[in-house]
């Protein structure tokens, strides 16, 4: 049972501002947070046919997710064993029967084994398994394809998501289909600023008039507990004052497979460190922020729909996406303001409301991994890694 209560007396500070602007800190985060934690690469419906593939890049690592000739989903490093070239350069596509490296022409079977090297007579005999593509740790959860580039502290995805698995299963997301492909947007902020805004609903009342109109004060955040947070908003009984919300509420039909309490709700599951699965009666979507530089992140997202929908449900889905699109645009501005505050000496740091405990709970997860987040003053860049290492050793002692 998750204990999602907010403590009576908790440290209302956020992370030190310097951690949002330190390149050495970002390198630590890439190495010990992003490469070692589960990431959503795509949904199984993005690769429905044999040879279909989807690529996913993260912090210098490259993944290719593909459907093999047995219909199974496979994940490999998108790296040729010969000279390290990208095997596929496109974001998505189909490679019928084999993968061919565009650099020299090595050929791989869809099960990852080496079919053969170009100019094979110029090599000694090569074992197809020894020179196979390197597999990537992968797990399917309710249709979503999770990958992890290096072993890390999180349990298997099924274990990680167990607290919300029954609720999520009602939506039958494993049967969902793509809508309009992948959406990415580059934002001039540190990745943590995106998450800081997303991890609390305190701002919804004034920043997101659409969501306020949709579910208003019913919205609640449950903090991150063991790597997963949960937020939910139930539609208010009013008709809705805004055009999109009014029509969405009017058109959003109960889905026959959903239990009553989920007919009029939007759900959000936060997955540490950087991913959210958001679910409405009409759709499921994921979004994640991927760090590029201390002041540059890419927000990546894709939306999926029920396989069977009426015309009315299609309209409701369009309206849901319109409400969501407005929310995303509003949040991007908030992340820029939040990120800017971290660079000014006059700002003394967050003082968080009980309604923002989700932010603190995310920070606590970060602090547990990298104790240097607890260092209020900025160490010299060259010492960030060694200071963190020393703090981790002290904590372990």
């Amino acid at each position: 049972m998750r204990d999602t209560r907010i403590p009576n007396d908790w440290d209302r500070r956020g992370l030190p501002g310097w951690t949002y602007h330190s390149p050495a800190m970002l390198e630590l985060e890439k190495e010990q947070i992003f490469r070692t934690h589960w990431q959503i690469a795509c949904h199984v419906s993005d690769i429905p046919g044999i040879g279909d593939f989807q690529t996913f890049d993260l912090c210098g690592e490259r993944a290719i997710i593909l459907r093999d000739r047995d219909g199974a989903v496979q994940a490999y490093h998108n790296t040729c064993r010969h000279r390290g070239s990208r095997l596929v350069a496109a974001d998505s596509g189909n490679c019928p029967g084999a993968l061919i490296c565009p650099f020299h022409g090595w050929v791989y079977n869809l099960d990852g084994t080496l079919r053969g090297a170009a100019r094979p007579e110029s090599f000694p005999p090569m074992d197809k398994h020894v020179f196979a593509l390197k597999s990537l740790e992968m797990e399917l959860w309710q249709g979503y394809v999770f990958v992890r580039f290096r072993p890390g502290p999180q349990p298997a995805v099924a274990e990680l998501m167990r607290p919300v698995a029954d609720e999520a299963a009602a939506y039958r997301m494993q049967d969902h289909l793509p809508t309009d492909g992948f959406w990415t947007e580059t934002s001039p902020v540190n990745w943590k600023s995106v998450r800081d805004v997303d991890n609390e609903g305190y701002h919804v009342t004034i920043a997101h008039p659409g969501l306020q109109d949709l579910y208003g004060a019913s919205y609640v955040d449950e903090p991150f507990v063991d790597g997963v947070s949960r937020s939910v908003g139930h539609y208010t009984p009013s008709k809705g004052r805004r055009w999109a919300v009014r029509n969405y509420k009017a058109l959003s039909d109960p889905q026959p497979f959903l239990p009553d309490h989920l007919h009029k709700s939007w759900l959000y599951y936060g997955i540490f460190p950087n991913t959210v699965i958001a679910i409405t009666p009409e759709t499921s979507l994921f979004y994640q922020e991927l760090p590029i530089a201390t002041n540059k992140s890419v927000v990546r997202s894709a939306t999926y729909r029920n396989p069977v929908e009426t015309r009315q449900q299609r309209l409701a889905r369009y309206l849901a996406s319109r409400i969501d699109r407005e929310t995303v645009a509003e949040d991007i501005q908030l992340t820029i303001w939040s990120n800017d505050s971290m660079a000014t000496d006059s700002f003394e740091g967050f003082y968080l409301s009980d309604l923002e405990y989700g932010v603190r709970s995310h920070h606590d997860h970060l602090r547990a991994l990298l104790p240097i987040y607890n260092r209020e003053s900025r160490p010299p860049e060259a010492e960030v890694r060694t200071v963190n290492h020393a703090l981790a050793q002290d904590r372990g002692a």
Binding site: N94, R115, P120, E121
Partner: protein, 77 residues
């Protein structure tokens, strides 16, 4: 028909895809590599397919003949 024979037939169909079909150059080269690994495609002919892998319009068998190579029976021509 055995599974290996099925695979041979499928790969042969890939090898014989007509020139001009989008993606056919890569499919032909991948199939040529399959037959090379089975000892049915000499390295010189495999190299012809490799040269054509990015040019869907180029017919490897025509190119082989132009270069004075005899295509192996597996090509079907």
């Amino acid at each position: 028909m055995t599974q290996a024979a099925d695979e041979d037939n499928w790969q042969r169909a890939q090898l014989q895809l007509p020139a001009g079909q989008p993606g056919s150059g890569a499919r032909r080269y991948a199939a040529a590599m399959y037959f090379h690994a089975r000892g049915l495609m000499p390295p010189q002919m495999l190299e012809i397919y490799r040269r054509c892998y990015r040019d869907d319009r180029e017919d490897p068998v025509d190119l082989a003949r132009f270069e004075g190579l005899a295509p192996p029976p597996v090509t079907g021509r």
